[in-house]
């Protein structure tokens, strides 16, 4: 009864304050971003600058054949303005450095658009320069890969790539091996490779793939931050001391705060998840993990708040913990960055668990195991917070 009274009181205070609406507003904003700005299956449109160091007839013949197949479309020539710039180009093999100095230039490029024959969508725009210098100048300014194609003594095509320097080793290696076979041989090799999918696991589209990140950070980060804000508001008003001289226990006061955060997070997460995911997720597991993880991170916020008098004094700890909690998102979006130590950050298994939940083939055992761990951890942190608050109710 006392807990219920405290919860109702906290909900009234939350509904009359800013933080509750900030969280709901952010949820609606993120939903709009997801629905409007994030395409389900985004197609990356590439741009290439090429120079063919060979007879123009050969180039025309190649593109004419491609145009005939329907995967290339010729468009009007493009005139691009290039500003003056100086830079060095280093040969990756010989380490030989060549210096270039360009003035303000205006280049005319033959322009072709590469078309995906299955979808009919534009995938790449190819600009063909009249000179290697023009290709290098524009590649540098536009931060795009450039290439020069020439003929060797046997009539085969030689490729010279100009990269920006920040490309991964994997991409550079791919460029090295890409043309070691003729296109026909490569196609035949690929046709002979057999790749089969074990089971019937479906992947998430780009929009759905964003949902776990938004849910984790709306729940864990916002829950962690907002519960601290509520505590510091109470500290500034001195109402914790007034509560401490009633027969009600401090843990009821703390739990009522946590319940308000759990309610808010359940609403804001639903605002994002239901419109994007529809009926696909296992919502029983979803809300179980959501509420447990929010309880855990809100408890962490309570514990941290017990060490400080005001939010300004707590800002260092608040900022550090929020950064730590955000780090696993890098691994989520860049699977190649997945060091072992990152897996011990609590938001790492949380992200993976929410991803499991919203996929068609949910690993229920994995989600339940993580839910149990978060519940146990959350309870321990909550008990510590309770002890700290009992000790720090000073006159």
């Amino acid at each position: 009864m006392k807990l219920l009274s405290s919860y109702i009181k906290e909900m009234k205070i939350a509904a009359r304050g800013y933080y509750f609406y900030i969280e709901i507003f952010f949820a609606i904003l993120l939903l709009i971003i997801l629905l409007v700005a994030v395409k389900e299956n985004p197609i990356s449109k590439e741009t290439e600058f090429l120079f063919y160091d060979m007879p123009a007839e050969m180039v025309d013949a190649y593109y004419s054949a491609s145009i005939a197949k329907g995967d290339v479309k010729a468009v009007d020539d493009t005139i691009l303005e290039a500003k003056a710039v100086s830079f060095d180009v280093t040969d990756e093999n010989t380490k030989e450095v060549t210096s270039y100095a360009f003035g303000d230039e205006s280049y005319q490029f033959k322009t072709f658009e590469m078309i995906n024959t299955k979808t009919g969508q534009l995938t790449e725009t190819v600009y063909i320069a009249d000179s290697e210098e023009a290709m290098i100048h524009m590649s540098y300014l536009e931060k795009k890969i450039g290439a020069t194609m020439s003929l060797d003594a046997n009539g085969g095509i030689l490729y010279k790539y100009f990269t920006q320097g920040f490309e991964t080793t994997r991409l550079k290696n791919l460029l090295y091996i890409l043309h070691n076979e003729s296109g026909a041989a490569l196609k035949m090799t690929m046709d002979n490779q057999s790749v089969r999918k074990l089971g019937t696991i479906e992947t998430l589209n780009a929009r759905e793939n964003m949902v776990p990140v938004f849910i984790v950070f709306m729940g864990s980060l916002m829950g962690f931050f907002i519960v601290m804000a509520y505590i510091f508001l109470d500290k500034s008003e001195g109402v914790i001391r007034a509560f401490a001289v009633t027969p009600s226990s401090v843990w009821k006061y703390l739990l009522s705060k946590t319940l308000v955060i759990m309610t808010t997070v359940a609403i804001s997460s639903s605002v994002i998840t239901i419109p994007v995911m529809g009926i696909q997720p296992n919502y029983l597991l979803f809300y179980l993990l959501l509420l447990i993880s929010t309880f855990s991170f809100a408890s962490l916020g309570l514990l941290i708040a017990s060490f400080f008098d005001s939010i300004s004094k707590a800002f260092g700890a608040l900022y550090t913990i929020m950064i730590i909690l955000m780090l696993p998102a890098f691994s989520y979006f860049l699977p190649s960055f997945d060091p072992l130590w990152l897996r011990f950050f609590p938001t790492y298994p949380l992200l993976q668990s929410f991803k499991e939940i919203i996929m068609v083939n949910t690993d229920v055992g994995y989600v339940l195991a993580n839910s149990g761990i978060f519940l146990a951890g959350g309870l321990i942190v909550f008990l510590l917070a309770n002890l700290r608050f009992k000790k720090t109710l000073t006159v």
Binding site: K9, G238, A242
Partner: protein, 284 residues
């Protein structure tokens, strides 16, 4: 109702004591004044008695409960009015009292009745955040009565209030005392203590210097004085003379017999003057 024996407290957990080996008792129905300047140890003592500060040394029994043991139910018998008002600014006056009423396990008073009692009628549905400092203080005071406390801790109950409201608050305290409520009044205002308290304790630097009734203190330490204004050679002269001093008594006779008296008032020593006399320090 309160028994304190050899109570000491150090915030730094060393020999630098905020409260140094104090002992006193407050009997049921008594209004006990705990008087001293800022930093004397008043709030520390009240903090320990109300359970807001962890007791370190000594023995304290409050409302029948040993404060070394955590027993939340003791707060059913206790009311605390803080010096700094502490109410939920986003809740209305009535919501504030209704919420606290639900935290107790004993019959509670009607929030609207308490709001009227402290002169906030018509403000029941106004959020406390819109209240003036004095109004918040009155709401905090009203809240301390919500559970009909047997033991009432009041910390500077009239500070910041205008004289009319302060008089209302003092009347409420007298009324509660008449009904048998035990009151532990912490203040540096000697006039309030003199008016309300059955006994007072003077505390300074964490040490209780004396405990007695205001009347006994005045009899023991006070000196009856007479202020006389008379006209001498066309000028108004003012003198303050002691009635217990032979020389002064003769001088009073001379003035009365030889001069035109303008005003003459007898005067008792105030508690503040006695405090200064006993402790050698003022109350600021």
């Amino acid at each position: 109702m309160i028994s304190v024996k050899n109570l000491s407290h150090s915030y730094s957990n060393d020999e630098k004591l905020a409260v140094n080996n104090i002992s006193f008792e407050v009997t049921k129905g008594e209004t006990f004044g705990f008087l001293g300047p800022s930093g004397a140890g008043k709030s520390t003592t009240q903090g320990i008695l109300t359970g807001l500060l962890k007791q370190q040394r000594g023995e304290v029994i409050v409302a029948g409960y040993n404060t070394m043991k955590v027993q939340n139910e003791r707060f059913n018998k206790i009311g605390v009015s803080f010096e700094q008002s502490n109410v939920y600014s986003k809740l209305t006056a009535k919501e504030n009292l209704e919420f606290y009423a639900k935290l107790f396990d004993v019959p509670t008073r009607d929030p609207e009745e308490l709001i009227r009692l402290v002169g906030l009628e018509g403000k029941e549905k106004v959020r406390a955040g819109e209240f003036s400092k004095g109004m918040k203080h009155r709401l905090t005071f009203a809240r301390s009565m919500i559970n009909n406390p047997e033991l009432w801790f009041l910390d500077e109950p009239t500070t910041g209030l205008d004289p009319t409201i302060a008089a209302t608050i003092k009347d409420i305290i007298k009324e509660q005392a008449a009904q048998g409520t035990t009151t532990f009044l912490t203040t540096h205002n000697m006039y309030i203590a003199d008016e309300l308290c059955d006994r007072v304790a003077f505390i300074i630097d964490g040490v209780i210097k004396l405990i007695d009734t205001p009347r006994n203190l005045k009899l023991q330490y006070g000196q009856k004085l007479i202020d006389i204004e008379y006209i001498n050679n066309g000028k108004v002269i003012k003198e303050t003379l002691k009635t217990i001093d032979d020389h002064d008594r003769k001088r009073i006779g001379e003035i009365v017999n030889n001069y035109d008296i303008q005003t003459m008032h007898s005067k008792e020593a105030t508690l503040e003057e006695i405090f200064i006399q006993v402790t050698g320090r003022g109350l600021v």
